[in-house]
């Protein structure tokens, strides 16, 4: 009885809180564009910069060069060596992070308002005059190799590596951006200089800031940081169509558990049915504790501690994938449960109650994303890369609301391909064998 009352109350309360996020589009005096959310409550600013390309720009035989180069950005610039750069950064209480992924190189900075100019100066040196000292190259190379050694014995990493190879083949997405032991061992300082020149260029910059900074102040920051960037960089790779063929690949690994990763083709963000796909994914394997996969695998059968799925739209491909870990003797059963759920959703779609709950969840959760300056800056960069307008946050929930039960059913039949679902199985799975 009470359960029903609570559900009614939930529906009545479900009008989503409005995201009061005010995005300004800023153009610096030098013509660099950025998005800004001014928030003067705490005296610091989060700045997020992304250069498209990333580890997919690695030249033939040089796998891992963009990753290693990015890790070396904070290892000295201009007159500052590694120790000098770190001491300057830490003495200013700034946080500067540089990372490379398969679609870009990201720079995240947080700095106190009173130190803004000095931190911008330091970041400017890093982004324009990195040293790539021989001792730093060797030290960081050692760290990258240590990571590769660890990955070789990490079942999650092993599964990821097999999945990439299966899904993307010879495209750069098909291998790990960190490189291999051989390729990383062969990288030289000249490679770092070349990778730097290829990765950082004005044509591929996306910037956002959130925090204690005005539009005029941000404009000056942008010009100092990015004004001297060369116009263009290395060529980006082309699109890759997923090798969508169903099957199973088993890799033996010691231990009590088996890691299972699975994937099939995804859907592009600009597809008219993208929001129906998002809703479908939430019902299938999103939403933490209340998805079909979580209910069937964890709540009903106790087969796993957790399972989730996601839709990923990369710059050059789309994929739908998921992962879980199960006791070795339960691997075959878990795979069958996943296949059955996939087939059921493809054939029958979702229920009206699932659709309604998921809409309420997605529209309610959206404004909760915008918490904290760092998170906001990062979201704003992502929106620009997707080509969204700055008023998108105010309009997004209406697009979720517009999806109907028939839309999801049609999309599920189109998107979900149970016969093309591919499973990568790493561990001591009992009763599971490779399909070829």
């Amino acid at each position: 009885m009470m359960r029903f009352v609570l559900v009614v109350a939930a529906v009545l309360l479900a009008l989503p809180a409005v995201a009061e996020i005010r995005i300004q589009e800023v153009t610096s005096p030098g013509g660099i564009k950025a998005w800004l959310v001014e928030e003067h409550g705490i005296p610091f600013t989060a700045l997020e910069i992304r250069f498209l390309g990333g580890t997919s720009l690695d030249r033939a035989g040089k796998r891992g060069e963009v990753n290693l180069m990015t890790a070396l950005i904070e290892e000295g610039a201009a007159e500052l060596d590694s120790q000098g750069f770190a001491a300057a950064r830490d003495g200013l209480a700034a946080e500067l992070h540089f990372r490379a992924d398969s679609d870009g190189v990201g720079v995240s900075a947080r700095f106190l308002s009173e130190n803004r100019d000095q931190v911008v100066e330091l970041l400017y040196l890093a982004l324009t005059k990195p040293r790539f000292d021989a001792d730093a190259v060797e030290r960081v190379r050692g760290q990258v190799l240590a990571g590769l050694t660890a990955d070789a014995k990490d079942p999650d990493a092993i599964a990821g590596k097999i999945l990439r190879k299966r899904a993307y083949g010879t495209h750069p997405y098909g291998t790990v951006g960190d490189g291999t032991e051989d390729s990383v061992a062969g990288l030289t300082r000249d490679d770092m200089v070349a990778a730097f020149a290829g990765a950082f260029a004005r044509e591929r910059i996306y910037v956002a800031a959130a925090g204690d900074v005005s539009a005029a102040e941000l404009g000056l920051v942008l010009d100092r940081l990015l004004g001297e960037m060369p116009a263009s960089g290395a060529d980006q790779p082309g699109r890759v169509e997923l090798a969508a063929k169903g099957g199973v690949e088993v890799q033996a690994f010691p231990g009590p558990q088996t890691v299972i990763s699975f994937y099939q083709g995804g859907i592009a963000f600009d597809d008219p049915e993208y929001f129906a796909a998002q809703i479908l994914n939430e019902i299938l394997g999103g939403r933490g504790f209340s998805s079909r996969l979580m209910d069937e695998l964890r709540e009903k059968r106790g087969l796993t501690y957790g399972v989730g799925t996601g839709l990923a739209a990369y710059d050059h491909a789309e994929i739908m994938s998921g992962q879980l870990a199960v006791a070795n003797e339960n691997a075959a059963q878990a795979i069958q449960v996943i296949r059955d759920i996939w087939a059921d959703l493809a054939q029958n779609g979702v229920t009206q109650a699932e659709l309604d709950d998921t809409k309420t969840y997605m529209t309610g959760a959206y404004p909760l994303r915008f918490d904290g300056n760092g998170t906001i800056a990062s979201i704003l960069v992502g929106m620009q890369i997707l080509g969204l307008a700055s008023d998108y946050p105010a309009k997004r929930n209406a697009r979720v609301e517009a999806v109907t039960l028939a839309d999801v059913k049609r999309l599920a039949a189109r998107l979900l391909t149970p016969e093309k679902l591919f499973f990568v199985v790493v561990g001591g799975a009992v009763g599971v064998t490779s399909s070829e």
Binding site: V18, Q143, S290, D357, T360, L368
Partner: protein, 446 residues
């Protein structure tokens, strides 16, 4: 150039952030902490119980954690799993965690949904309803969790063995998730007894952080939690204590899944205590100086820069514990360096530090960073809620939390060195080696 940067740092006085925090106590003994942050229409609602894995019934290790899972299995009025579904239907998220000294439950929702989640949390404080079937399924889930987090990870296994060696008598030596053979035997009755004995408003702390008005939170808390009767059975948190530790302990865990061998050492160390946190503050600064930074810390400089013996090094100390905590060091050698050699190198660095003392520029830089981290920390209201909740759950007061940043600023280098000389006593230490088993050459038959 370098000098210029350092002189350039003149931080203005950081205002005490205490203004945003209000505290109350309900008539039934439940403590309430409200942290205001009006930047976004979001609220985090947390209930912390002063009961953790170190309070597990002897022979029933893992019961506090198992109960945490079972708290999602419904009440007399809410069906199993529905609490999370109701929160998710609001766009919110919820979860829970168990540590050695506390168990906490939280929801993150739009600020105007606070009343709803508070009602649900208050309901399950006293009205948990468990079926044998739900208990059996969930026991399988926590065995899966142990498989995933511990048994599949040699580093986690070594940590578990080291804690067991570090604490010879105190229950901090028993893993939070429990020993497998004891988890397998946990029953519905065990969970319900533990629940009835420990889940009550006078054993709980409510932390609400976000876009809320403290008076409205108090009124809401009084309405939801106020009617719950306090328990007369809450016992003082007195646990078995450690005897004098007389012999260093050394462990080697060899596992074929180890890719990166390392040396890790923990020393028994004093914790933060109410009104008495100065030595803990000195230890926190010691950890930062020795191994808090991958480039400029004493260990990193000595083992990764001046010599190239390690790929990674760190020192760690938290101090947020009811009873004696540990101070830790870890060094990952470069390939070719033996664990014996790298441990000797680590000890050489410690000996050098004890002889040479703290460098003034290092000390100033670390204090600047700590001060800034307080400002950055305000950007994360859930993090603030966690700081207050954890501190209160281990017996500290709101004042202790607010005094802590100031203490970190005015502890002297001499106090840090005194703390170092006290804590680095090998009789109190456990040293662990994580390594791959020796390679045996298989016999080849011609």
């Amino acid at each position: 150039m370098r000098l210029l940067w350092i002189i350039g740092v003149v931080l203005s006085a950081v205002p005490a952030w205490a203004d945003a925090v209000s505290t109350f106590t309900l008539d039934n003994g439940m403590e309430v902490v409200v942290i205001e942050d009006h930047r976004a229409p979001v609220v985090v609602h947390m209930v912390w119980y002063r009961i953790g894995a170190a309070d597990d019934t002897p022979g029933r290790s893992g019961i506090a954690h198992f109960l945490e899972h079972l708290m999602f299995q419904g009440t007399t009025t809410v069906a199993p799993g529905d609490l999370s579904k109701i929160v998710a239907a609001q766009g919110g998220s919820d979860n829970a965690f168990t540590a050695l000294d506390y168990t906490a439950y939280f929801q993150r929702v739009a600020a105007d949904r606070l009343d709803l989640v508070m009602g649900l949390e208050a309901d399950r404080m006293r009205n948990l309803n468990l079926t044998e079937q739900d208990v059996a399924t969930e026991r399988q889930v926590i065995l899966d969790e142990r498989n995933e987090r511990t048994d599949s990870d040699p580093a986690a296994l070594l940590g578990e063995q080291m804690a067991a060696a570090q604490y010879m008598n105190h229950p901090y030596g028993i893993p939070v998730i429990g020993w497998r053979h004891e988890i397998e035997a946990l029953s519905r009755q065990d969970a319900l007894e533990f629940y009835r004995a420990n889940y009550a408003p006078n054993n709980a702390i409510l932390v609400v952080a976000g876009d809320v008005d403290p008076d409205e939170v108090l009124a809401m808390a009084t309405a939801h939690y106020g009617p719950l009767p306090p328990s007369a059975d809450i016992k003082p948190r007195v646990r078995p204590t450690e005897p004098a530790q007389l012999a260093e302990r050394r462990l080697v865990l060899a596992d074929e899944r180890v890719a990166q061998p390392y040396v890790i050492r923990t020393y028994l160390a004093p914790e933060r205590n109410a009104g008495d946190q100065r030595q803990a503050a000195a230890l926190k600064l010691l950890a930062e100086l020795l191994g808090g930074n991958p480039t400029t810390s004493v260990l990193a400089r000595a083992l990764q820069f001046d010599t190239q013996k390690a790929v990674y090094s760190a020192a760690f100390y938290d101090g947020l514990a009811l009873d004696r905590d540990t101070f830790g060091l870890v060094v990952v050698p470069v390939p070719g360096q033996s664990l014996l050699d790298i441990e000797a190198a680590m000890d050489g660095v410690l000996a050098g530090f004890l002889k040479d003392g703290v460098k003034a520029e290092d000390f100033a830089r670390i204090k600047t960073q700590i001060r800034a981290s307080e400002i950055y920390g305000r950007d994360n209201v859930q993090g603030l809620a966690q700081q207050y909740g954890a501190a209160l759950a281990v017996g500290l007061s709101v004042k202790d939390v607010q005094d802590w940043p100031g203490l970190l600023q005015n502890v002297t280098a001499d106090e840090v060195m005194a703390a170092a000389r006290t804590v680095f006593d090998r009789r109190n230490a456990v040293t662990g080696w994580l390594e791959a088993p020796p390679i045996t050459t298989p016999e080849v038959q011609q």
